[in-house]
């Protein structure tokens, strides 16, 4: 095969006459160079992770149970790092006890430390519930926390007043914080929910959302006039008032009595899309008590919210209350007013998988053009769920699981989006690529509003729309020297 450069591309006897890679670049012949992946070279290491460890998610879930103190079975650092990480977002007390492993616990097992730790927490915090999650260390040495807890109860019954002791297995090498959250919710339900005659109330598994979202969810359920229980609900414990006296455990959260009734609920709504059946609390209730389960994705944007409201209408037999229908109407009006600023603007979305599904559906419905939807999670379902939730999405849109921020940065450089939408850990990418970041989700460590960021329902969509379009208008205004006073 002869080449433009006069040499030959196929193997020949005289090596001097082979068209080399260098030659090929000049003459453009031969096989196309291997396309570099959008996210750059593959690395064995995770660089600037877009995920956290499973025990963090479990601590968040446990914080949403009334009177519960989260307890990590492992080294002291796990509890302390997770506390610090969550305090920087929620800006609220986040006490997490630790069984405080030493070398002898690693050699002989952590039973002694667990027992001692539980006793001290009971004495110091007087909790109604202790939510124990395992760290990777406890999992690796094979501590049987389930058995330890049973024995602890047996040994101490009668001598001390023992709170509910819940246990979730959360090995951080088997999933991310989003998984840890779901594992803990499932464990909570598994260990508390009991059978009984059906009661007229709805159980809601809300997913990892903000305190503002939980509060709005409560309002929606209230307005439908149904008895309900959100499990877990950390809106009050993680967004409460200033106190006169210190509270050992912040007030609020879902009472154990409500969780134990879940086996008798008339319906369960699980706000999730990428969840696996084996980690779903709703599936568990269905299997154990044949409870009616409705699973909808996080209600972000009109279409996702419509699905949620429709489920509520179906369960309650009541129409969407006028207040909410009104919000929906005004939201559409806002969409209309602002659509031109949003249309065709390229966005990169990142965060927990379920959150990315919801945000992408929302962005697509207002005319933004998601060019990359990325998560550190690895459910294997992200692509399908996003395509289902946002059918109009460009087939070219990249949907990637298991990525880190270093990879997202490479992709952003290549895709040149107008905006990044995700948690504050994306700021390093934003700074390096000069693409502005709109902060949503968890964590938001560099703004004060983490707890109060509303994403769900028509009201959440209104807030997201206003924030995004205002940002785009600001960019348009600042992007020229004229100084337009009308945009």
């Amino acid at each position: 095969m002869s080449c433009k450069c006069g040499k030959t591309c196929a193997p020949v006897e005289s090596p001097a006459n082979i068209c080399t890679t260098e030659d090929k670049a000049k003459c453009g012949c031969g096989p196309a160079p291997e396309a570099t992946p959008l996210t750059g070279k593959n690395f064995t290491a995770t660089r600037n992770a877009c995920k956290l460890c499973a025990p963090l998610g479990a601590c968040l879930a446990f914080r949403g149970i009334e009177g519960c103190l989260p307890f990590l079975h492992g080294s002291q650092g796990c509890a302390t790092y997770i506390r610090r990480y969550m305090i920087s977002h929620f800006r609220e007390p986040m006490d997490i006890a630790s069984s405080n492993f030493g070398e002898e616990s690693v050699v002989f097992g952590g039973r002694g430390n667990l027992n001692e730790g539980l006793k001290h927490v009971i004495e110091g915090y007087k909790p109604k519930v202790i939510g124990i999650a395992t760290t990777c260390l406890a999992e690796t040495i094979g501590d049987d926390v389930h058995m330890y807890v049973k024995d602890f109860i047996k040994e101490n019954e009668g001598s001390i007043s023992i709170p509910h002791l819940l246990h979730a297995s959360t090995p951080s090498y088997a999933g991310s914080h989003a998984d840890g959250y779901q594992w803990a919710v499932r464990a909570i339900v598994d260990q508390l929910a009991v059978d009984g005659p059906n009661e007229k109330f709805i159980g809601v598994f809300p997913g990892m959302i903000s305190p503002a979202d939980l509060r709005h969810l409560r309002e929606i359920m209230d307005d439908f006039g149904m008895q309900f229980s959100i499990v877990p609900d950390y809106s009050d414990p993680l967004d409460g008032p200033v106190w006169g006296e210190y509270h050992r455990i912040p007030e609020g959260g879902t009472p154990v009595s409500e969780i134990s009734k879940l086996g008798r609920a008339s319906a369960i709504i699980e706000l999730a899309s990428t969840i696996a059946d084996k980690q779903s609390a709703a599936t568990l209730l269905d299997e154990k008590f044949s409870t009616a389960v409705f699973r909808v994705g996080l209600p972000i944007g009109i279409r996702q919210s419509d699905k949620f409201y429709k489920v509520l209408e179906q369960i309650t037999g009541r129409p969407t209350p006028a207040k909410h229908a009104g919000e929906r109407g005004r939201l559409i009006d806002a969409y209309v007013d602002g659509h031109k600023y949003a249309f065709g603007k390229k966005v990169v979305i990142f965060g927990e998988e379920d959150f990315v599904v919801g945000l992408t559906a929302f962005c697509a419905e207002i005319g933004l053009k998601p060019v990359l939807c990325a998560s550190g999670g690895k459910s294997g379902k992200l692509k399908t769920c996003i395509r289902d939730a946002a059918p109009e999405l460009d087939p070219e849109t990249e949907i990637l699981e298991g990525v880190d921020f270093a990879e997202i940065e490479v992709a952003v450089n290549h895709l040149k989006p107008d905006l990044l939408i995700g948690n504050s850990k994306g700021f390093s990418v934003s700074r390096k690529t000069s693409v502005p970041l709109v902060r949503v989700g968890f964590p938001i460590h560099d703004r004060v509003s983490g707890s109060r960021t509303l994403h769900l329902g028509y009201r959440g969509a209104q807030r997201l729309f206003d924030t995004l379009v205002d940002k785009l208008m600001e960019m348009k205004q600042d992007g020229n020297d004229i100084g337009y006073t009308y945009i």
Binding site: T46, A49, C53, C78, A97, V106, G124
Partner: protein, 450 residues
């Protein structure tokens, strides 16, 4: 819940001094279930080595430890910023079962090729020892292939508190010292050890020393560079700040290179001045002593009038101080006095009995001294002592804020330089901006009083 008296756990009572005879205990393993504010060995190692800006910092383990320490501190670099990136082998279930050595090896090779660091630190996390990965062997192999120091930091979290981690970090650092094979001492030179260049503090301190004619050979680890650490044996004196973090390195340098060490603190007018005079005294150099006096006079003359308005507002207000190491508490007690405030609660995560004894002697009678305390105890005493300001780190902040008390971050996440003379002014501003905020009028604490 609310309105209940907080009682002390029996086993905690001996780590608290409320007055009377001094019989404190300290340096104990944290009580399980006590919600200690301490961290772990990994944290200690990470803290000490973190600011070395031209080294690769790779965390070998599942993802959490790397995620929680990504860009965690305000340690500035005048050049490369590799320390602000987070690298993890992100161990998965199969790595735990079959071992993570291969993964670590590939991770290191690729990262070194990509980022071209001058050294690599590999931090072992809790499970690494348990699954039996030979991290040192992998490091040696990579070191031979890539021709840069690749050092295993023995930082499994369960090995103890931060202190054990400090020691592991010092061992790692010491492996680099002397690798440039130059032995002779640099005249009139020092190493600044135990400053992490938070908000550029080391540049402030360095400037003072340079104005005195002192050469700074190496800083550990603020604005740290591998090349400088190689030279650490060549300084004539080690100035050690921060209670425990790099004391071990100083001891090793003393033993191996005969470099004496000297304690210093750069917080507050008195301690900062002393840190400069002490160096001049060490070199027994009149000219240097005069230069130190000039630096101090220039700085203090500027500073004192600027402090006056803050002092006027803050006079008589009460403060609680809780830090990682105990040495900083001494400086803070003095600094707070400079702006008219009284310390009524003081403590640290890792102080020794001697530290606390000295602290008790420095503080006013009745000051509560706390070792390895926890949120409930802090809340109890903050309330009982009715403080106006809490100085601590992010974990202590919500305790203060929930009780309607001002807060000053004096930990590694702060963004304000608080060291040096200029740092004293920044400190006064920080304290003032929280204590004097009008928002407290709405807090229940103030409403009860009025």
């Amino acid at each position: 819940m609310a309105n209940e008296t907080i009682n002390l756990l029996e086993k905690r009572k001996r780590q608290i001094h409320e007055g009377g005879e001094f019989v404190m205990e300290a340096e104990k393993q944290s009580l399980a279930g006590s919600v200690s504010q301490r961290s772990c060995s990994f944290c200690g190692s990470r803290v000490v080595l973190y600011p070395i800006a031209d080294a690769l910092h790779v965390v070998h383990g599942p993802i959490g430890c790397a995620s929680y320490t990504w860009d965690i501190r305000g340690s500035l670099s005048s050049g490369p910023e590799l320390h602000r990136l987070s690298f993890s082998t992100d161990m998965q279930e199969k790595d735990v079962i079959y071992g993570g050595e291969t993964k670590l090896y590939h991770a290191l090779i690729e990262l070194i090729d990509e980022y071209k660091p001058n050294a690599a630190f590999v931090y072992t996390t809790c499970i690494i020892g348990v699954i039996g990965d030979d991290v040192t062997a992998i490091c040696k192999k990579v070191e031979a292939e890539k021709n840069i120091p690749v050092i295993a930091v023995d930082s499994e979290g369960f090995k103890g508190s931060k202190k054990e981690g400090y020691k592991a970090a010092c061992d790692a650092l010491f492996k680099i010292v002397g690798t440039d094979d130059v032995k002779e001492k640099v005249p009139k030179s020092i190493n600044i050890l135990g400053d992490f260049n938070i908000a550029g503090e080391i540049w402030v301190i360095k400037d003072y020393y340079e104005r005195m004619g002192v050469e700074v050979v190496c800083s550990v680890s603020g604005d740290g560079r591998v090349e400088d650490i190689r030279k650490a044996g060549r300084a004539q004196l080690n100035i050690v700040q921060c209670s425990g973090s790099v004391s071990n390195l100083a001891k090793m340098l003393e033993h191996e290179y005969g470099t004496p060490m000297m304690r210093a603190s750069y917080f507050g007018i008195e301690d900062m001045s002393k840190a400069l005079y002490d160096v001049a005294d060490f070199f027994n150099d009149d000219e240097m002593h005069d230069a130190a006096a000039r630096v101090i006079q220039e700085e203090v003359t500027q500073l004192v009038p600027q402090l006056a308005p803050y002092r006027k507002d803050l006079k008589g207000k009460k403060a609680a101080v809780y830090t990682g190491g105990a040495f900083k508490v001494f400086s803070l007690v003095r600094s707070l006095r400079t702006i008219g405030m009284d310390v009524v609660i003081a403590g640290s995560q890792t102080g020794s009995v001697e530290d606390y004894k000295m602290l008790m002697e420095l503080c006013d009678p009745g000051t509560v001294i706390l070792d390895d305390t926890n949120p409930l105890e802090l809340a109890k005493y903050v309330k009982e002592k009715n403080v106006d300001l809490f100085i601590g780190g992010v974990k202590e902040r919500p305790i203060a804020f929930k009780l309607g008390v001002g807060f000053c971050d004096h930990n590694h996440e702060r963004k304000e330089a608080l060291a040096g003379f200029i740092g004293m002014l920044n400190f006064a501003k920080e304290v003032h901006s929280s204590v004097m905020s009008p928002v407290w009028q709405f807090a229940p604490r103030k409403q009860e009083v009025t």
